[in-house]
Symmetry: C2
């Protein structure tokens, strides 16, 4: 198509609210427009990109025996009540009533709908295994949408659900799907995506992986071992701590610590390192506001995902008032009193430690000389801590952990029987016994994947789209289209390439070279052909790639063939990656 | 793929709640499953059909210079407030609030979103005309979903929006789109679809057309002239009535009519035809409950769409209580009193009539001898009546009108500047003057189109899908797949056809011929190959088409080639129609 007909504006200025490059470039390049917080409309270039991504996903899902289906966006609450998630999921699940007062939700994931669709079908073991998937709009009422298409409220997602009669069969399929995901990301132009162990969160189930594009602007923290192949999301990464216990345990004693509230203050005041302090972090449960007092070594932070998983309940940072009996900044495990229901938890980082400081449970006093073993003999220890850079790898045991940032571009879960049990989906096994099928589920966000590719492949001037998902394959710049020779050559090339099935964007506007090239840069089409009066004098045109790796002068009569070769080559490269 | 792996059940029994065949067949054939009232999930066969329909639509929209975009399903109420439709549209617009209390709607149509997307882009006349479209999920909170995919609450729709600088340019594009629609329906296998003039309803604008598949089970009534090319939806069709005025007007007089309430009763009692009565139909406005008393000739019915359009307000059948002053069954235009705000309207069918009966505005009395001209000299007449079979064609004036039923499979509207004015979208014309662009909009429901094709093309055993949208192109039935020869031939044919890019469903189950054929009938694949021990003995297989028009024995070695030819032929036929 011709660029002067492309609906959407391109502009130079970086919009003020963009924190990552892909967001800014996709607004500046006329890819999308914000409609509401976390809700976008797409223009043609983005729709073409997402359409190609959808086709890649479809091919790879079909190749692992997936059957495409479609679930509704709007689902009756009753379906989510069957699984228990109507109550258990927070306000990110959008609930509403229809004209007759019926309760409904907007689909943010479709495990319930999947079980609903197949529970009559899958009544005998011979029907298994099978996998169904859809590519469909979802809505998740995010509290903090951000970063353009990376974290939105409305999005297009491929979600797949597999059903099995044994854990072994699920694991085998899970591996097949893992490989299909690697192919999808490679074909979409980001073979560098890695998979990491993850927390299953609200999905339930045990083993799960996230596919991560490592980038400093990612939202997730990824724990990576430099010595072995251990990789996990911070939320799921086990924290290993070795405590050096002092030979002599001091006596427990109170110290007057006026105006001292933070761990930093206490440790400075006492001239002891943070590793020698016992920090209190206080939460309340969302369900009943009861208190959760968690003690952890002073240099470490709480991983709230681990805490939530351990409790099986959502928490929020406690509101400490006079009535509750706690003293903010002075809470410790010895002589702790709370005037309300509460639980006390201990992180493993404290296990066996001695000569620690901790809150005195009264204003302006701290204890010193705390010996966990001696003073709190009944304490039980669990892993609640965030892994730190340079920490111990839970896999190989070396101090070899680094922490990177990543964007999650896909995830796969072994769900087990959580949904089939709750929703009473059963089959008769080969011995005539009633069983619940075992499920896996597999997601990829289409728009987020597009934005991630842009994040991974761009320069200051615009995206550098891989051939496989580029909105167009070739971009013809006719410099001075008022020149008859330029016009004739460019028109003919446009025509020839289109007839050959090449997707061509043709810029024949009367604009300056600067405007022409900056628009081409923003559209990020991989192959560019420049026809100018100067080159045509030599019977040549220029062919350059958006990533600058190729730049050549080609005789005009060879241009179409050369372009076709280049397109085919770059496409093959994406598919081979 | 192999039929024994296809997720979904096929069954014989017609589900109880199905009023039309396509609904029953699509449930019986494992095409879809109900999730809630008017909300369905689709299995693979239907998803493949809708995917093909979507691709046909996409090609035809691209061919008329459409640019595919995507609007959100969830839109902020503010966008609909800009156009005024947040208030004016009824409860079919689903309104809800998000987690922060923000007001949102579920998109049932996207004029507002379209204007929002392009109002910065379209600021100068050089950018025009342009058309954007999307294929996306919509939700319309129907009061009475029915007939399977014909009237649902959640559906996939192609909606397109064009923008112009003159009415002439809109009309030219409207015609192009009209032709594109004809191609779409022809390619989808229903070239018999006709276009009819329609009422623009809540969309606003003036000229509009609906594309109708004529079928006795259709929801819409279509007025068709047998003498000229006049075709209109009943809602929009003008009603022409010629009254024969009696030479002598009788005197107006009251008659005692005890226990007589209906027009039938009155006319029987007075021994006069219904054409000689003046019927009152009473409504109240939804907005303020004020009364609307409409008088119409006794043999005609009120077209409520015309009434609503005239009033510019929604109405409901009046609740007549003692307080309001009206007497149910005895309401007439002479000495009418209503103890509440009200308007009186007269249908054109009464204009000039005399010697009519009408209600006496008191219990148990009617007037006779009513002369509209003499007794109600100030009455204004408008067209509020429903066209009747055998009525007068408003185009050629002959008594040649027939009424058919139809399913609306698409619609196109000339919207004018309703949305661009309301939402303040402007451009500078060639003389530097500020103007509002003129819009058109164009819709096709994808699922409804699939169901309509099924409705038009099925038999008692299942759908007869056209090759262009069939879920698979070829269905191989291996009768007695345990027979080595059958297995070898069918496996090899399956393999050969798949490698040739033919879409094959392969049934190699050990089931009876009856089960095998009834399943094949329900899947409705256009070309069927039957391999049986008996035929193979003669070195042959059978090739039959689902519509029974072709049935032949073909030597095994020619089967693959013959099937490919047949597929290509049938595909070409759909594209040529």
């Amino acid at each position: 198509m011709k660029l002067d007909k492309l609906v959407g504006d391109r502009f130079k200025e970086k919009p003020a609210d963009c924190v990552i490059d892909s967001h800014a470039l996709m607004l500046r390049g006329g890819y999308m427009k914000s409609v509401a917080n976390g809700i976008y409309s797409s223009y043609l270039p983005l729709r073409r990109i997402t359409h190609k991504i959808e086709e890649i996903i479809r091919e790879e899902m079909d190749a692992i025996d997936g059957q495409e289906v479609q679930f509704p966006v709007v689902m009756p609450a009753s379906l989510w009540q069957e699984s228990g998630r109507y109550e258990s999921v927070g306000s990110e699940l959008l609930r509403f009533t229809d004209r007759n007062g019926g309760a409904y939700v907007l689909g943010m994931t479709h495990e319930e709908a999947a079980v609903h669709l197949v529970r009559e079908y899958g009544q005998t073991y011979q029907k298994y295994p099978f996998m169904i998937y859809q590519i469909q709009t979802k809505f998740r009422d995010e509290g903090r949408p951000r970063a353009g298409l990376i974290r939105v409220r409305e999005f297009t997602m491929k979600d797949a659900y597999s059903f099995h009669t044994s854990q072994a069969d699920l694991e085998q399929y899970y591996d097949r799907c893992h490989k299909a995901y690697e192919r999808i990301f490679a074909r979409a132009g980001i073979p560098e995506v890695i998979s990491v162990a993850s927390d299953s969160g609200m999905m339930g189930g045990s083993i799960s992986h996230e596919f991560m594009l490592l980038t400093p602007v990612g939202e997730d923290s990824i724990v990576i071992c430099n010595e072995c192949d251990y990789r996990a999301n911070m939320e799921a990464a086990e924290c290993i701590v070795h405590n050096d216990r002092d030979e002599v345990s001091e006596e427990l004693g109170l110290v007057h610590t006026p105006d001292i509230h933070t761990i930093e203050d206490v440790c400075n005041f006492l001239h002891s390192p943070k590793e020698k302090s016992c920090k209190a972090v206080v939460y309340q449960k969302k369900a009943d506001d009861s208190f959760v007092v968690l003690f952890i070594r002073g240099d470490l932070d709480v991983n709230e995902t681990k805490l939530t998983n351990y409790l099986g309940a959502e928490v929020y940072p406690a509101v400490i008032t006079e009535e509750c009996g706690l003293h903010a900044g002075y809470t410790g495990p010895v002589n702790l009193k709370v005037n309300a229901p509460y639980v006390v938890l201990y992180d493993r980082s404290l296990q066996g430690a001695n000569n620690l400081s901790c809150g005195g449970n009264q204003e302006e006093y701290h204890y010193v000389g705390l010996d966990m073993t001696r003073d709190l003999p009944n304490a039980e220890y669990h892993d609640f801590a965030k892994v730190v850079e340079g920490g111990v790898c839970p896999h190989c045991g070396k101090h070899s952990v680094t922490i990177s940032r990543g964007i999650e571009v896909g995830n796969i879960f072994q769900l087990g029987t959580k949904y089939t049990k709750a929703m009473n989906m059963t089959y008769l096994d080969s011995e005539g016994k009633t069983q619940n099928p075992i499920m896996g589920c597999y997601g990829i966000g289409v728009g987020r994947l597009a934005a991630s590719v842009c994040e991974a492949h761009h320069d200051a001037y615009g995206p550098i789209w891989p051939m496989s998902i580029a909105p167009w394959q070739v971009h013809i710049c006719a410099m001075r289209a008022d020149n008859a020779e330029v016009r004739a050559f460019a028109d003919s090339l446009y025509d020839t390439l289109q007839k050959a099935g090449v997707e061509v964007m043709y810029d024949d506007r009367s604009v300056s070279a600067g405007v022409m090239f900056s628009d081409a840069d923003l559209l990020g089409v991989p192959v560019r052909v420049i026809a100018s009066p100067r080159n045509l004098k030599d019977g040549c045109c220029e062919i350059v790639t958006r990533d600058k790796s190729i730049s050549m002068k080609v005789p005009c009569e060879e241009a179409a063939e050369k372009v076709r070769e280049l397109v085919a080559e770059l496409l093959a490269k994406n598919n081979a990656d």
